[in-house]
Amino acid sequence: MRHVETTETPREVISVRHLWAGYDGEPILEDINLSVRELDFIGLIGPNGGGKTTLLKVLLGLIPPMRGEVRIMGKSVEEGRRYIGYIPQTVEFDRDFPISVWDVARMGRLGRRRLLQRYTAEDDDIVAEALRSVDMLNLRDRPIAELSGGQRQRVYIARALATDPNVLLLDEPMASVDPRVSASIYELLRQLNERLTILMVSHDMSAISSHVKTVGCLNRWLFYHGGKQLTPDMLEAAYQCPIDLIAHGIPHRVFAEHAPEEEEVQQ
């Protein structure tokens, strides 16, 4: 549960301390502690309803924490979230929405322009660069309704890049993407990780764990040791049932007795 501290740790990008969060007074997340440092590539896996999206919502300031503290680049969430490039789950969108690739990506510049202010030529350059970096510039006038799942995902990545972020936050990035395409998107994320910190959540553990640098489990509690391997006890604690996995080291069952008997949390 503790982040492995070394003497030369990179700068902390996101810091979550003793966070409790949920809806209508019912916590979905309990006592979450997480430290995301520069150039981390963290994947958090967990079952549906385990609080993955809730955690992202708190990090983005879409819902307030019930208890605990979140800092982004040392600032409050409202101030710090401009350093975050948010890439939502694509299924949330109406596929028939009348909007072009270019107009979606340009929303990444919204935070830099005030009300009544138009986008500038500089914005256009940044948006073009963002689309180029995800190989979508040639489709800039295409309505998003005519894109494949993978292409749409690239457009949302471009939109996040256009915000000029320090950290990318991804919610189920491969939800509407077939496995062949998801490999190319992971490759894109790997390249972006050379200069950007990435935190993503997913319920798909096999895909995520082979592409990220470190991995954790989230199901009401967060099990994150800053390591690359998912240990059986992490999974068992997170999923509340034994899961077969090739064990690394000696499995110990410190978390098993904490495993809750509560009913499944609905979101």
Binding site: Y23, L60, E78, F93, D94, P98, V104, P143
Partner: protein, 272 residues
């Protein structure tokens, strides 16, 4: 056909149709893509409370409708945003209570209530020139607001969470949109009546959205379709001696069915 135009009421009716169609095309596009048809219907029906208020306190029922529908828009908007459950139930109740209030207030008003029915079912043939000026003013307000706030309106319609993260004042923009819906509803009340407002608000935008994939083009096409529907409906009602508002709605409805059939024929390939 042309001789009908020598009547002042006919010229006013055509003009009203055009002015209303502009607001309808622009605001209807937001209503359709943001899927707030239900709340818009609520605003339209609750506006009747304002009519009753105007009758009872002896001021212009149109003014009453503007005040009441804006209030209803803000109230329903607040409910929609701030309650996590049963927002649709509460909006449905406000919808009916607004209307009931109007009916009771009219009951309590002494004397002859001449054009009461015209607010419910429209009376495009009896639009006075002063109303045309009000419509023009509301059109200008709507066009100006949409142009000034276009990038924010697009953002909250497409992806509210992202707009929030980018520090767009999402709630305020949403409330402004609802107020513009209220203005549009009051304008349309003259043409098709409060009860049928929702059809003319959504049908042109819904048809337009089937054929263009750009929000600005969708608004322009929807406005043009609105002009076609109101004008066609007006002529038909004039020559067949039918209720104008209802004829306009039937023309729109028929066009919607036709557009869906055309769309189906054009895209026989399976949906992905």
């Amino acid at each position: 056909m042309i001789e009908a135009l020598q009547f002042g009421f006919m010229r006013n009716a055509l003009m009203a149709g055009i002015l209303v169609s502009i607001a309808c095309g622009i605001i209807g596009t937001f209503v359709v893509i943001k899927r707030i048809v239900f709340i818009s219907g609520g605003i339209a029906h609750a506006a009747y409370g304002g009519i009753g208020l105007g009758y009872f306190f002896k001021f212009s029922p149109v003014l009453g409708a503007i005040i009441f529908s804006v209030a209803a828009a803000l109230g329903m908007g607040l409910v929609h945003r701030k309650t996590r459950q049963r927002a649709d139930t509460i909006i449905g109740v406000m919808w009916a209570v607004g209307m009931a209030l109007g009916i009771i207030l009219v009951d309590l008003t002494e004397g002859y209530k001449a054009d009461l029915m015209s607010y419910l079912f429209g009376s495009i043939l009896a639009v006075p020139s002063t109303d045309l000026l009000i419509m023009l003013a509301l059109d200008l307000v709507i066009v100006a607001l949409v142009m000034l706030l276009y990038k924010e309106l697009l953002a909250i319609s497409f992806d509210e969470a992202f707009a929030t993260v980018e520090n767009v004042p999402v709630d305020a923009i949403y409330m402004i949109l609802l107020c513009m819906i209220a203005f549009t509803v009051v304008m349309m009340m003259r043409v098709v009546g409060l009860i049928m407002v929702i059809a003319l608000l959504t049908v042109p935008a819904a048809i337009s959205g089937q054929f263009v994939k750009n929000m600005k083009k969708m608004m322009v096409l929807a406005s043009m379709l609105g002009v076609v529907f109101t004008t066609t409906g007006l002529w038909l009602s004039y020559f067949l001696n039918l209720t104008s508002g209802a004829t306009i709605i039937l023309v729109s409805g028929a066009a919607y069915l036709l557009s869906m059939a055309v769309k189906l024929l054009l895209h026989r390939r399976p949906k992905f």
